[in-house]
């Protein structure tokens, strides 16, 4: 029997971890001479107080849903894909090539094409690390880190070389054609007399992200392959004994993971920038780790955690705008969340387990 009831496992552990991270962040804010309560109010107001704020929060959340799902699905097969950053960068390259060189008649087809391009390029970038892990036993963490750096150099090379339009000084591709423009929330939800989400970058790819959550859930818990993947994650030896091929599972989980990370590019490259710029991912690949840990690798959890991080991101930008608190505070919060939900999991969990065991023992003693 588990030491803790299921609901406590999925809600209490992440919430207490989050609370610990929040307390430490508040101490940091206090230490640099700002009021943590005022800072929180400013963040809530800036990120959730208007449709404009929501537009940014959901835009960031869309990125984090994709990268969070990518890390989560790898976690289920006990793979740690730290290469989301590089895979998302390559996904951006895929989107840029698809949007620039194929004349699309309508944005919906362009979105479909760009999604395929992004997923293919992202998966391709996960292919070599996955293959090396499966066949040669090279540690996936190290190879994916190395591939992040190689991706950065590759994009750097392409954006100051082949992809840069003639005569431009900026390391970026040209603007994508008008037909590939994805409808933003402003286009979709504004009526004639009230403009909602004005100027915010949230766009239709948010719904693609939500669909991806559902599909990942379907895949992990409702398909045979998903079952094999989880079985492999729980016990490699047992899975092997049951006739599950480790090579297949490692390859499948990492390729899907890479594809999901790459898909992020339909939001930030096609949806927002509408061209490929240098360092377009901006660390979203790494935030995926925090999101997956916080969301307990469940698509619903990832969705909620991604919204939370979207809020932190937008709120952090507001803080940097109105106070002396720099934007990097968000990186600190992100680090604390990773630390408490990932590395110090036992520290949070074991007192809770003891508490629940003690609670359970009491009624039995009375009976």
């Amino acid at each position: 029997m588990d030491a803790m009831p299921k609901w406590a496992e999925v809600t209490l552990v992440p919430l207490i971890s989050l609370l610990l991270a929040a307390i430490l962040s508040a101490i940091v804010i206090f230490a640099i001479g700002e009021n943590p309560w005022e800072a929180l109010k400013l963040m809530v107001d800036g990120a959730l107080g208007s449709t404009y704020g929501w537009g940014y929060t959901l835009y960031y959340a869309t990125n984090f849903i994709f990268t969070g799902l990518a890390v989560a699905i790898a976690f289920h097969a006990r793979m740690f894909n730290i290469g989301g950053e590089g895979q998302a960068a390559l996904g951006g390259l895929g989107v840029a090539l698809v949007c620039l060189y194929i004349p699309w008649p309508h944005w919906s087809l362009a979105l479909l094409g760009a999604s395929v391009g992004a997923a293919l390029f992202g998966a391709a970038w996960a292919l070599i690390p996955a293959f090396l892990q499966a066949k040669r036993g090279s540690h996936i963490v190290i190879t994916t880190i190395m591939f992040n750096f190689i991706a950065a150099s590759l994009l750097n090379y392409l954006l100051i070389g082949a992809l840069k339009p003639r005569g431009s000084m900026e390391p970026a591709t040209g603007k994508f054609p008008e037909a590939t423009h994805l409808p933003s929330f402003q286009d979709m939800f504004s009526t004639a007399d009230t403009a909602l989400f004005r100027g915010a970058p949230a766009n239709v790819s948010f719904f693609v992200a939500v669909a991806a959550c559902f599909l990942v859930w379907l895949f992990i818990w409702r398909t045979r392959l998903g079952y094999e993947l989880r079985a492999f994650g729980h016990s490699e030896t047992a899975a092997k004994y049951a006739g599950i091929s480790p090579t297949k599972i490692i390859m499948v989980s990492m390729l899907i993971s890479g594809a999901l990370a790459g898909m992020m590019a339909i939001n930030n490259v096609q949806g927002e920038a509408e061209r490929l710029v240098l360092n377009a991912v901006e660390g979203a690949g790494f935030i995926g780790i925090a999101v997956a840990l916080m969301g307990r690798s469940h698509p619903l959890g990832v969705f909620i955690a991604a919204i939370l991080f979207g809020f932190l991101y937008q709120g952090g930008a507001e803080l940097a705008l109105w106070t002396s608190i720099p934007r990097e505070l968000i990186v600190v919060i992100q680090a604390l969340v990773i630390l408490f939900t990932g590395a110090l999991d036992h520290m949070v969990r074991s007192p809770l387990e003891k508490l629940f065991l003690a609670l359970r023992r009491k009624p039995q003693a009375e009976a």
């Binding site: 940091v28 230490a31 640099i32 001479g33 740690f80 730290i82 070599i128 090396l132 040669r136 090279s138 540690h139 963490v141 190290i142 190879t143 880190i145 190395m146 591939f147 750096f149 190689i150 150099s153 590759l154 750097n156 090379y157 790494f286 780790i289 840990l293 002396s324 608190i325 720099p326 990097e328 505070l329 968000i330 990186v331 600190v332 919060i333 992100q334 680090a335 604390l336 990773i338 630390l339 990932g342 590395a343 110090l344 999991d345 036992h346 520290m347």
Partner: protein, 322 residues
């Protein structure tokens, strides 16, 4: 190519290799004891900031060095707490430490100095100055060997010499002392060490501590010797290159030095594109050189150039049977 340019390039190779070497040896101690550490980068960054900040405030580079090592040790303590005491995932802990350092250094730098996440420029005294070795002046007239001694070997900061002295020292500690034997054993088979009545936890904390000290020196070197002050993200992936060098060297100290010199050389040549072009006869792409250490590591990891086998108990928390 004449002797002067060769010496110039090798000189910048030494400078670039020093932080890599220190971080690489730091990782070597930790990983040989069975604690994976991908937080080398973060520890260097924290040490660079604290070293520069305290050197600026006190005007003394040595105080900066001590405080930098202190900051790095603090993060080592977090890593030890997470991965040894609470038996958490060492990789995730390392990722968290990297972000913690990347965020906190900028937040603190902004709060203390208000210069957009940097420390002020360090002036003389707050930096480590080049040391001229004895007889360097007198011997510089000797053909070939004179300039090599005077310009290449002499004239670095004390931290460079410390770094290279750490190589034989590490070898000696690991292979010629009782502590080193136990340290290597705890990375291969902690249960055996435990059976022999030696504390696994104690040994691993010692290794993580040594790792913290070496990362601290590496970070302080960046901010007070290589450059004059801390800037945001100044470690610039060096912690990961050091990790790559460690795998390249297959967790052995002398090979680590060779790997770091190689990767240092790769960092040094893009500074002289003209020479490179003349030497190879064609233009070599800067981004390719930038990516080369990482590509080489992947090739090594793929096992095409001999297999890199990490310490056997690496990454696994030790659970005593109850």
């Amino acid at each position: 190519m004449d002797l002067v340019t060769i010496i110039q390039i090798l000189d910048s190779t030494l400078r670039a290799a020093t932080p890599l070497l220190l971080a690489c040896l730091a990782g070597l101690f930790s990983e040989r004891a069975g604690i994976f550490d991908i937080g080398l980068e973060g520890k260097m960054l924290a040490a660079a900031f604290m070293g520069a900040a305290m050197a600026y405030v006190s005007g003394n580079a040595w105080i900066g060095l001590l405080c930098g090592i202190g900051a790095s040790l603090l993060l080592s303590g977090v890593h030890g707490l997470a991965s040894i005491t609470f038996r958490g995932n060492q990789l995730i802990s390392g990722v968290a430490i990297n972000f913690l350092a990347a965020g906190l250094t900028v937040v603190m730098a902004q709060s203390w100095f208000g210069q957009g996440g940097r420390t002020p420029q360090l002036v003389e005294g707050a930096r480590f100055e080049p040391v001229t070795l004895p007889f360097a002046e007198a011997l510089s007239g000797v053909p070939v060997l004179g300039p090599i001694y005077a310009d290449l070997i002499s004239g670095h900061t004390i931290l460079v010499y410390i770094a290279f002295a750490c190589v034989p020292l590490t070898w000696w500690v690991l292979y010629r002392t009782r502590f080193g034997l136990r340290l290597r054993a705890v990375g291969e088979n902690p249960a055996a060490v435990d059976t022999a009545g030696i504390s696994v936890v104690g040994l691993r904390f010692a290794a993580v501590g040594i790792c913290g000290v070496l990362c601290g020196i590496a970070g302080v070197y960046l901010a007070t010797a290589l450059q004059a002050g801390f800037v945001k993200d100044m470690s610039a992936g060096r912690g990961f290159i050091a990790l790559a060098a460690l795998i390249f060297a297959k967790w052995r100290p002398w090979y680590a030095m060779i790997a770091c010199l190689l990767f240092g050389f790769l960092q040094a040549i893009p500074l002289r594109p003209d020479l490179l072009e003349k030497f190879v006869g064609m233009r070599i792409n800067g981004q390719l050189l930038e990516a080369l250490p990482y590509i080489l590591t992947v090739v090594i990891l793929a096992g095409f150039v001999g297999k890199a086998i990490p310490p056997r108990a690496g990454g696994e928390p030790y659970v005593k049977e109850r």
